[in-house]
Amino acid sequence: MSAKKKIKTGGIWKKIVGNQMFIPVLAILILVIVNLIKDPSFFVVTMGLNNDGFPVLSGSLISILDNGSELAILAIGMTLVTAASGGQDISVGATIAVAGSAMLRVLCGDNPRPTATQAPVILAFLVACLVGMLCGAFNGALVSAFKIQPMVATLILFTAGRSIAAWINNNELPIVPDPKFAWFAGCIPGIPIPTSVFIAAACIVAIMLVLKFTNLGLYTQAVGINENSSRLNGINPTFIKFLSFVILGLCVAVAALIKVSRISTINYSVIAKDIEMDAILAVALGGNALSGGKFNMWASILGAYIIQFLTTTLYRFKVDSEARPAYKAVVVILLVVSSAPVVRNYFSQLTKRFTSAKKEVA
């Protein structure tokens, strides 16, 4: 009876360890434990008043959710691009600048210091979406129709994007006069949680609904795994790859809204700098193959929040801002190596031997 139970628990253990979510979840747990030991006040969430005198929640956890929003949203699109094309889009940081700049242009018009917004925010956001999707379509067309490697294709906008962004506003840095615009990243009066958290949540719900009620997931994976076979089964691989880039473009526009809203203006050379690498990393941390094919959307999103969790933790530990990337790199190496198939196989062999030895003893 007890032996039977042991085998059963062994099976469950194997199932847990074998799951793609195991490493990301373990990483979160370790970060939580480290913070608990070092400084339990990390987890304290307090209700305070913000600059405008409204009650808001504050604390490290809130800041992780808040600041991780853009990355989580980008991770969604990046996962699809990676799965379908077997490559990555390195232009997302630059295209955030482009979409953000377009948004400001609509909001502020010709005058960089307007006294009132020149157009409704929703219009500005829709224009940003259009611009983001156009950038995505440009990348997507190069990759899908012209069969250029994704990294090379997106290198074009990576290089040119920030200049285009500056050109859209004649190199001015327009400031949005309406304080309400800051609500998209900050808090709407009366709601104590930052709006960006809700935006990210809305994006996550949206993609989950799309994956559930369409065949986007199946088509994307099929194209990523075997393009020939997908085509012979009636799928249009060119379109699916193109679509994945356009969806990423939409994610870029949403991320741009939050980024611009944070400061109500833009800095072309700094906004969303290096975020493309974090977005790719989020996909990889989730255990998704960067060579495309099968993917797990939840794992990528979790990956994005791990990166933010790590950043916030290092910030709390007062690690020098110059030294932070190095610490981050160490953790990333550990995570990536531990999720490599070679290492995982080795450990599953080890546990197998361990459990069989235990069985013999019993």
């Binding site: 099929a222 076979s229 012979l232 089964n233």
Partner: protein
């Protein structure tokens, strides 16, 4: 250990999740012997080979070699160092390197490659084996057959004691097979032990000395070739008497298409960019017909043009008498045409996806992007066909790539049957799969036809076509050169039609 015995495998065990692939299998190989390893798909042949070559680690048993005694083989490199070379069914060379590079890649002892020396060595070896390729030619520019021979040349040059040929002949034509056999006999006389895995019974009886038969991961027995007539070999592989096979033989030539039916599909002057001459073609309801011809004669290209798999250049197509336009596969699928492609690995399976997803794929695409099947429905579809076609898989969740070749083929077949097509095209559905599955597929084709489905069947094995088809379109040099039906459906007639030009001259 016997003195002439160069390889001794005893009590080999190997378990995969959910499947016991090998259970206590013994295998012995003597010096200068060509030893056939036979069995149905999933019998464990490939697994045994992969254990021997270090691709898989065995769970139990011992492997001993002449001279060295018991050995542990952990990687293909180990196997190579011990003098065990393999040529796999699927070509495992690098198509973008040259022939010479492919022959010598990964074998240099030092860091420096003497390119000139390598090229002259390769050229010499190619010439001595009569392989029509240049050392400096890019491998991808050679035909599949030549690529296969280069792989063998690579193995031969590795001073091997044990040479494993895993389905080397499945993509070779007759003359090339003859050449390969010449090469095998030559190696045999030099004392090399050859393990030959194949599904072609004729070839086994032509070239082998001994046969070891596996079934369901277990050893059935080892036999001298002269002691085991074909019928008995097949019976041992199948684990049953010959009823099934003789059944279908009995129908041979007896099956006639329903002449009364209307044309389901009709093509006029059809041409694709794959280099075939424009051709006319039609098929009636409930008819089974086929394209025949030598390898590379354009059989596959014709059906690919029908399905819209290659770019269609010109021609008109009618489905049920109504003109339709088929520019891409989805158009054909909407017309009720299904196509099982020739190259299972490249065009058929979606490797990392589960058996279930692979089964529902075509119907799902046809149903529409916004109408995914519920999990329960997908499961029901998968379970229905896993049972119907007797697909051996641990579960519907298993990735298709971990199934054996024949079972993968059945999954692809299930995918198209699930679509309930009016017109089913099967391009080499029986290539590289075992006798049992072959018979299953042939029977299924006839069954489907009797239910009113039209089927076009392509096979390299003429007798298989004769058994199933009531009309054959004969091709030569990418052109349709004749059509045979009724009493004309004989081996001789097909051969003479294929040869055509020469017999007239």
């Amino acid at each position: 250990m016997n003195e002439k015995r160069i390889l001794e495998m005893r009590g080999i065990d190997k378990t995969f999740p959910g499947v016991r692939a090998l259970q206590g299998v013994d295998f012995f190989l003597n010096e200068g012997e060509i030893h056939a390893l036979m069995g149905e798909n999933g019998a464990g042949k490939s697994t045994l080979i992969k254990v021997l070559t270090g691709v898989y680690t065995k769970d139990g048993g011992t492997i001993s070699l002449q001279g060295t005694g018991e050995v542990q083989i952990h990687s293909p490199q180990d196997a190579q160092n011990l003098g065990i070379s393999t040529v796999y069914q699927e070509i495992t060379l690098c198509p973008n390197l040259t022939v010479a590079e492919n022959m010598y890649i990964g074998r240099g002892k030092g860091q420096i490659t003497n390119w000139k020396q390598m090229n002259t060595d390769a050229e010499k070896l190619l010439r001595s084996l009569d392989i029509p390729a240049k050392a400096t030619q890019q491998l991808a520019s050679c035909s599949i057959a030549v690529q296969q021979m280069v792989a063998i040349a690579r193995a031969v040059d590795m001073e091997c004691k044990v040479l494993i040929l895993d389905e080397p002949t499945s993509s070779l034509d007759e003359q090339e097979v003859e050449k390969l056999f010449g090469l095998m006999r030559d190696l045999k006389s030099r004392g090399v032990g050859i393990i030959f895995v194949t599904h072609f019974l004729d070839q086994v009886y032509e070239v082998c000395d001994k046969i070891t038969v596996l079934r369901d991961g277990q050893l059935v027995g080892e036999y001298e070739i002269k002691d085991l007539p074909r019928v008995q070999l097949v019976a041992k592989m199948l684990g049953k008497e010959m009823d099934d096979l003789s059944d279908i033989k009995g129908e041979g030539g007896g099956y006639q298409g329903k002449d009364s039916g209307e044309d389901v599909f009709e093509a006029k002057d059809l041409q694709s960019d794959a280099g075939i001459k424009p051709f006319d073609f039609h098929i009636k309801k409930g008819e089974v017909n086929g394209f025949t011809g030598l390898l590379g004669s354009g059989r596959s290209e014709c059906v690919r043009a029908i399905f819209g798999a290659d770019r269609v250049l010109k021609g008109s197509v009618k489905m049920h008498g109504k003109p339709v336009k088929i520019a891409k596969p989805i158009d054909a699928m909407k017309c009720g045409i299904a196509y099982l492609p020739e190259d299972r690995k490249v065009d058929g399976i979606v490797g990392d996806l589960s058996v279930r997803e692979n089964i529902i794929l075509a119907l799902q695409v046809l149903t529409g992007f916004f109408k995914p099947f519920s999990r329960a429905k997908a499961n029901a579809f998968a379970d229905e066909y896993i049972k119907k076609l007797n697909i051996k898989t641990a579960s519907a969740d298993t990735p298709i790539k971990s199934l054996s070749g024949g079972n993968q083929q059945k999954v692809i077949l299930a995918r198209w049957l699930l679509m309930h097509p009016d017109y089913l095209i099967l391009d080499e559905p029986t290539r590289g799969i075992d006798v049992g599955t072959k018979v299953d597929i042939q029977k299924l084709v006839l069954e489907l036809a009797s239910e009113g489905m039209s089927v076009t069947f392509i096979s390299s094995e003429t007798d298989e076509m004769l058994r199933t088809c009531s009309r054959l379109v004969v091709m030569r040099d990418r052109k349709v050169v004749g059509e045979l039906s009724g009493d004309d459906l004989t081996q001789n007639k097909i051969m003479s039609t294929i040869a055509g030009g020469e017999s007239k001259a």
